[in-house]
Symmetry: C2
Subunit: 221 residues, 2 copies
Amino acid sequence: MSRTDKEIDEATDAKPSRASAARLSLYLRCLENWRRAGQATVSSGNIAETLGLSDAQVRKDIGYLGSPGQPGVGYKVPELIRAIREGLGINREWRTVLVGVGNLARALLRYQGFREQGFEIVGLFDADPQKLGLRVDGLTVQPMSALPAVVAGADAELALMTVPAEAAQDVADALVASGVRGILNFAPAVLRLPSKVRLVNVDLAIQLEQLAFQVQLGNIP
Amino acid sequence: MSRTDKEIDEATDAKPSRASAARLSLYLRCLENWRRAGQATVSSGNIAETLGLSDAQVRKDIGYLGSPGQPGVGYKVPELIRAIREGLGINREWRTVLVGVGNLARALLRYQGFREQGFEIVGLFDADPQKLGLRVDGLTVQPMSALPAVVAGADAELALMTVPAEAAQDVADALVASGVRGILNFAPAVLRLPSKVRLVNVDLAIQLEQLAFQVQLGNIP
């Protein structure tokens, strides 16, 4: 039976919003901690209290995942983890390349969280000839010219960009041309990308500015 | 003349929301690029187009800053930069300590953006005896026991926390006890802090998960 437009619309509407998706990632982090601690079940209230959110908000976000729990009984921790990973699309491996092999790149490569969540770094690239051939955590730094072949060969969809701001747009253009579909950008630069390519910016100075702003305000709830 | 409660309330209401503050940080980044490129004036439309926002949104956010521009004429770039820095409370130096001296810390210490925005790192701390006494970018790694004296002596208000998740709560507690008022936390841990202390979390796996989620969805506008 084919779905009507309305049904398809409703299915699309049922996807979590970006804000819900960000919160679901946070719930996942809590749930993984609880699983490690041996906790078998949780309620939406447990999650809400831990993260300082309302119970209604947590229940609404989890509602996007179908019905992984039973009202009044709560959720089984492993089942809710599985449901969130599925809802966020991270219940599979995401192959990822990294461009710009400095200290931040080394920190990211050693960051356990990426691998645990299914993100596998399959290629390292740098424009600096002095870095070419370096081995970092089992990978060899390659020139930018090798990017398209590696992306295609490994079917890499994501990229981590840890390059200086001046180089960021050129590198982003090269990543887009190679077929990468999403870029996590750490350069403090405003990038222009075609709409088919997703971009998440992590501007560390902005995070620190926001912290200073909140401290300055002093007592916003 | 003393202000009435209502006037004080209104002054408080006129502070930018967190979402506006985050956008103002982005505007600041654009404006600094334009200043470096020698551009003298901008319109709210220039900013809106660069960042993919609506003109009305940009004007509303800038409206929190008083009236740094003239309608139809636009803003003088240096004046708008000054107004935003003042509005965000970053038109002064913020002394900052860093706990956990690994690769991420080294990347942060070399990150130009922090110093440019007035954030000065005044102390490095690590629990690992093997790291004590190391010199990193002009600072010496000190034991956690030295934290209270350094925070008090340098009047440090902020902290960067780049420690493993297992250590994060203990380190956060020590930072709070030392008098730090805001923590930028890079550990993938859910921290409990007293309400007087501000917390901004940068969970890099969450950022990557959100990127994967957006790529997965494919074509959300």
